[in-house]
């Protein structure tokens, strides 16, 4: 009897060179004018400062690395050497980003994006895609736009959104929301094949458009605290990179936000899980993983979290956003 040899699927085809088309054109999907707005100016200046092709590359490398660590399609124990090397690369990038201040800006922007966008982490969808778990629904989870990885303008954009009225936020959301369930991670991380699996019926938007769309992720630890479900899986990420010392203060949680994020599982995965191949559902976005580095409490590994529920919840959220 032969086991299926497709088990060790990697979302990115092996021989495929880096797709040049997945550069994020952050300026294309920006709807708000850059000029104007007193608070806006400072944010956009910060964005401009960060703008550089090196930063773009570094950011995309970071995202790629985090995705590689997230992949839990495997039925076979993952290669520990590979995981350690990728983890070291992530560590390296994060250290450098901290040194030049980019890290602070990014995580703050992510938090701002959380508050502004009020969608739950589409990374939850990503985890559904990645992990193919089909457990019962876990509760409300709100899809969230992700900041476009690598587009330094995004944090500024998110700040803009925050400043904007709720209506505008809604508008902003609508630019991405039709694609919310599916767009962010693939565009960010090039996970096209994975997305294709889950996209059926989700939206009709062009995949390319999704890739270019802005994505905002929730990175705040405040959110994580809200997550009351799947307690065992929480705080696993702190085990991932124990030597990450960069710690960004979490913004104070927004009550409305908390409510929306009530059931999101904070656990991303812990290094042991990843490195030893136990299947757990990463529920946090990549940036959450990097942020929740401080607490080192070991947590029991639970492998029974739901991914399927995420999609159901996203549907629900989409109805809220689009329908209302």
């Amino acid at each position: 009897m032969r086991y299926s040899y497709q088990r060790r699927t990697c979302a990115i085809p092996r021989a495929k060179m880096f797709p040049k088309g997945t550069k994020r054109k952050f300026s294309d999907s920006r709807e708000e004018p850059v000029a104007g707005g007193e608070d806006v100016n400072q944010s956009s200046l910060a964005a401009v400062r960060m703008l550089s092709s090196y930063s773009l590359q570094r950011q995309s490398l970071l995202d790629m690395s985090l995705i590689k660590l997230q992949l839990c399609h495997m039925l076979v124990e993952p290669n520990l050497c590979r995981s350690v090397l990728i983890a070291n690369t992530v560590r390296q990038i994060q250290e450098e980003m901290t040194q030049d201040g980019t890290w602070q800006i990014m995580t703050q922007a992510l938090s701002a994006a959380n508050a502004a966008a009020q969608c739950s982490a589409d990374r939850l969808v990503a985890t559904e895609v990645l992990c193919r778990q089909t457990e019962a629904a876990q509760g409300e989870q709100v899809p969230k736009p992700f900041p476009v990885v690598g587009s330094e303008g995004c944090p500024a954009k998110e700040v803009l959104e925050e400043e904007a009225a709720a209506a505008e936020v809604g508008m902003t959301m609508s630019t991405v929301s039709p694609q919310a369930p599916t767009s962010y991670l693939p565009g960010t991380f090039g996970m096209d094949p994975c997305w294709e699996e889950e996209e059926t019926g989700e939206d009709d938007d062009d995949e390319e458009e999704e890739e270019d769309s802005e994505e905002c992720g929730s990175g705040s630890e405040g959110e994580e605290r809200e997550r009351d479900s799947l307690v065992e899986d929480t705080r696993t990420a702190e085990q991932v990179f124990g030597t990450f010392e960069i710690k960004n203060p979490a913004p104070s949680p927004d009550p409305a936000l908390e409510e929306l994020f009530s059931d999101v599982d904070a656990s991303y995965y812990d290094l042991d899980t990843v490195l030893t191949g136990m299947q757990s559902v990463p529920k946090m976005g990549p940036y959450d993983l990097l942020e929740s580095l401080s607490s080192h409490g070991p947590s029991p590994l639970s492998s029974s979290t739901s991914c399927r529920s995420d999609l159901n919840e996203l549907d629900h959220i989409m109805e809220i956003i689009v329908g209302s």
């Binding site: 032969r2 088990r7 021989a15 495997m74 124990e77 590979r82």
Partner: protein, 444 residues
């Protein structure tokens, strides 16, 4: 032994290819390890399906002394089966990671084969006689009626068709939490080591194991793993292991039973000008091999092969670039995971040349004396009997010459990870996915 690069007196030519021809490669047929035995008479391959195929060198034809004999199948057996770890809900692949021959001590051959978790000692024996004339059984094997037996006879050994049997003699299991990447037989012929990412076990072939490991107390702090290990060819108390950070540690078992500390530490200082986010990944050593003399060791990292003098720890004595043109493509190779490919390397019998694989079914040889190098390809196109292999070249600059291939045209799915060099002759075995190519020098 002659050098490697083309000269008037030496050229490589095709000898044989084993394996299916069709484009559709069954994953189980992908060769995962190749190893000559100590005399070179036997060539063993392991594949992803857990099978071991052993080829034997036919005696050279007396009439045609210029023609080397061929390697033909000697024995095939299923070494490992897929398993399931119920505790972790994970499959354990049956892929054979390494095969190592034991030195021959009697008429039978012994080899160690390992998958990710279990090492097995196999005995391959020949049987070419069988006994006939049993008293209690007749020729069919049926029991004879005891009352019919009126006389005794001595069974006689009669020749029969040669049968090669492989039987497992030892199973060394449950000693590795992580994936076994190396096994190495010690020069004392009694012990061997096995290494996974965090642990090296020292086994006695008969019974016990002593072990040491580098697993940190806190997995969060894990930043380095063991990538390969080998016993010294002459000094049975010495072994080395390489790491994912590009370092090699030499350990002497006489100093302590637990070799957590090393005797020598080999590391080349990093060139700050070429530092990138991928520096560490490409410095990870995928293979380490002692020279036959025991004076040098060779390490393979992603882009180069380095020869180290065991007496000099601060830098290698020789560095050979395997495919430097990939340095500008590291981001793409990281994305498609090719950057994690583990290439092996090998010495020739006299330690004057080294060989390693690359992509596009290319493999490279370096002559340490003349400093010449050559790139050859294992392909069906150049598989005519005794056809000379044409050197290949990858064009790096703008202008591509006629026979050159550009970097972007390289097929990264066709990788040569496993190669082996006959211990005494100029015969090499190159594993290209599911095909085994055997090349030899042209005898003029």
């Amino acid at each position: 032994m002659a050098g490697v690069a083309g000269g008037n007196d030496f050229q490589w030519c095709f000898s044989q290819v084993k394996g299916a021809i069709d484009e559709d490669v069954a994953e189980a047929d992908i060769i995962s390890t190749v190893e000559f035995n100590h005399s070179g008479e036997l060539l063993a391959t392991g594949d992803k399906g857990g099978r071991v195929v052993i080829f034997q060198h036919e005696q050279e034809c007396k009439n045609r002394p210029n023609l080397r004999g061929e390697y033909n199948v000697y024995s095939t057996f299923q070494s490992h089966e897929p398993e399931f770890d119920y505790l972790k809900s994970l499959e354990i692949e049956e892929k054979i990671n390494k095969i190592r021959w034991l030195p021959q001590q009697n008429s039978a051959h012994f080899l160690l084969s390992t998958n990710d978790k279990t090492i097995k000692l196999w005995k391959i024996g020949e049987r070419d006689k069988r006994a006939e004339g049993y008293n209690l059984k007749d020729e069919d094997g049926r029991l004879r009626d005891p009352f019919r037996i009126t006389s005794l006879r001595v069974p006689v050994l009669m020749p029969m068709d040669l049968m090669v049997e492989a039987s497992p003699r030892r199973v060394f299991a449950n000693a590795h939490t992580y994936h076994i990447n190396s096994i190495s037989v010690n020069s004392d012929h009694q012990t061997y080591l096995s290494a996974d990412d965090l642990r090296i076990n020292l086994w006695h072939l008969e019974i016990t194991d002593r072990s040491f490991n580098i697993k940190p107390a806190n997995m969060e702090e894990l930043t380095e793993v063991i990538t390969a290990a080998e016993c010294h060819p002459n000094q049975c108390n010495v072994f080395v292991y390489s790491s994912s950070k590009g370092t090699i540690r030499l350990c002497d078992m006489r100093t302590a039973a637990l070799c957590d500390s090393h005797t020598k530490f080999f590391e080349e200082p990093e060139d700050p000008s070429s530092r990138s986010f991928f520096s560490e990944i490409i410095s990870s050593i995928s293979d380490v091999k002692f020279s036959h003399s025991g004076r040098y060791m060779m390490t393979r990292d992603y882009l180069s092969v380095k020869v180290w003098d065991l007496n000099m720890e601060n830098r290698p004595v020789e560095t050979y670039q395997v495919h430097e043109y990939l340095r500008s493509k590291l981001c793409s190779l990281y994305e498609n995971d090719c950057i994690f490919d583990k290439f092996e390397c090998c010495w020739n019998g006299s330690d004057s040349a080294i060989m390693t694989g690359s992509y596009n079914n290319f493999f490279r040889m370096f002559d340490r004396n003349t400093r010449k190098d050559i790139t050859l390809e294992a392909s069906r196109e150049s598989s005519k009997p005794r056809a000379t292999l044409k050197p290949r070249k990858v064009s790096t600059g703008g202008k591509r010459k006629k026979d050159e291939i550009s970097v972007d045209s390289l097929d990264f799915n066709k990788k040569i990870l496993h190669t082996a060099w006959h211990p005494k002759e100029n015969v090499i075995a190159v594993a290209a996915t599911n095909n085994l190519y055997i090349f030899q020098d042209k005898i003029n």
